[in-house]
C-alpha cells in the first residue's frame, strides 16, 4: 500500500468520511469537519502507523490531506 493510500485509509477510519471526500486538497477542519480532538487522534494514528513523530510546531502546517502526505514522505526520506 502506498503512503497516499495508507494516509487516506487512516483518515476515512478516524474522521468517519468517505474515500470520495478525501481529495488531496481537502482541508481537515474546513472540508472534513474535524475538531481539535479529531486532529490529535489523526496525528497520533499517523505517528503510530508510520513510526514517525510529528511535533506540535509541524502540526500547525498540516492543513490538507496533501500536506499530510508530503510531510510523511519527507519524514520517511522519500521525495515529496
Amino acid at each position: 500500500m502506498s503512503i497516499e493510500e495508507k494516509v487516506i485509509e487512516i483518515i476515512v477510519e478516524q474522521l468517519d468520511v468517505t474515500r470520495e471526500e478525501c481529495v488531496p486538497e481537502a482541508a481537515f477542519i474546513e472540508d472534513l469537519g474535524a475538531d481539535s480532538l479529531d486532529l490529535v487522534e489523526l496525528i497520533m494514528a499517523m505517528e503510530e502507523n508510520f513510526g514517525i513523530e510529528i511535533s506540535d510546531e509541524e502540526l500547525q502546517k498540516i492543513r490538507t490531506i496533501q500536506d499530510a502526505i508530503n510531510y510523511i514522505k519527507k519524514k520517511k526520506g522519500l521525495a515529496a
Binding site: D35, L37, V40, E41
Partner: protein, 247 residues
Amino acid sequence: MNLEGKVALVTGGSRGIGRAVSVRLAAAGAFVAVNYARNEEAARETLRLIGEAGGEGEALRFDVADPGAASGAIADLIRRKGRIDILVNNAGESRDGLLVRMKEQDWDRVIDTNLKGAFHCCRAVAYAMMKQRGGRIINVSSVVALAGNAGQSNYSASKAGLIGLTKSLARELAPRGICVNAVAPGLIDTDMTSALTEEQREKVLGEIPLSRLGTPDDVAGVVLFLASDEAGYITGQVIGVNGGLYM
C-alpha cells in the same frame, strides 16, 4: 452498578482508599490493575480481597511520579487487556510541615506523586479512551484542597492542582464521552491519618457534623458510582465525602 467487561487501573491501590476502591470496582465486575510503588505485600493483600469478593485483577508495580515507568506500564496494560475504561488517580503521599521550614524535596516529592503522577496516568490512558469513545477518570483530591490545612501547604496545593486538572480534562475529553471527576475525601481512617494524636482526633471529630471519621469504603462507594454508566451525565465535578466537615 455493573462494570462487567471493563478494565480499571487504580493507582496506589495497595492500601487505604485505593484498596477499598480496587475491591469495590472488582466486585462490580471490572478487571482491576492494582498499582503500587513499593509495598508488594500490601498489593497482594488487595488482590486477595478482590478474589474473596469474586473479582479479578492483577498487581502492577510502577512509581506514578516516574513518567517513563508509568507510561510504559500503562501502555502494556492496555495492550494486554485490549482496552482501558476506568482510571482512578489515587496514589498520594504526604510530607507535612510548616512552610517556613519546608524542605525543597518535601515540596517536590508530594507534587510529583500526587499531581504530576495523575498527569502521567491521564496522558497514558487518554488516547485509548478517545478511540473507545468513552471512559471514566476519577481523581482523588482532598478536603484540604478546598479548605486548606496548616502544615499541609504542599499536600493541599497538589490536591487543589488535581481539581484544576479534573475540570480542564473534563472539558477536553467531553466530546468523546469521557467523564472526568474528583472526589474530595475528608478525614478518612487510613494509615495516612493514623499519625494523628488522640487530641487532634478529638478536635477534628468535633468539627465533623456526622461525628465520625470516614472509612475507605465511604469513599470507594462514590468512586464506584462515578465509574459506572449511571454517572454518564456528571463531569468536571468535585464530590465531597467528608461527613459535612466542609460544605
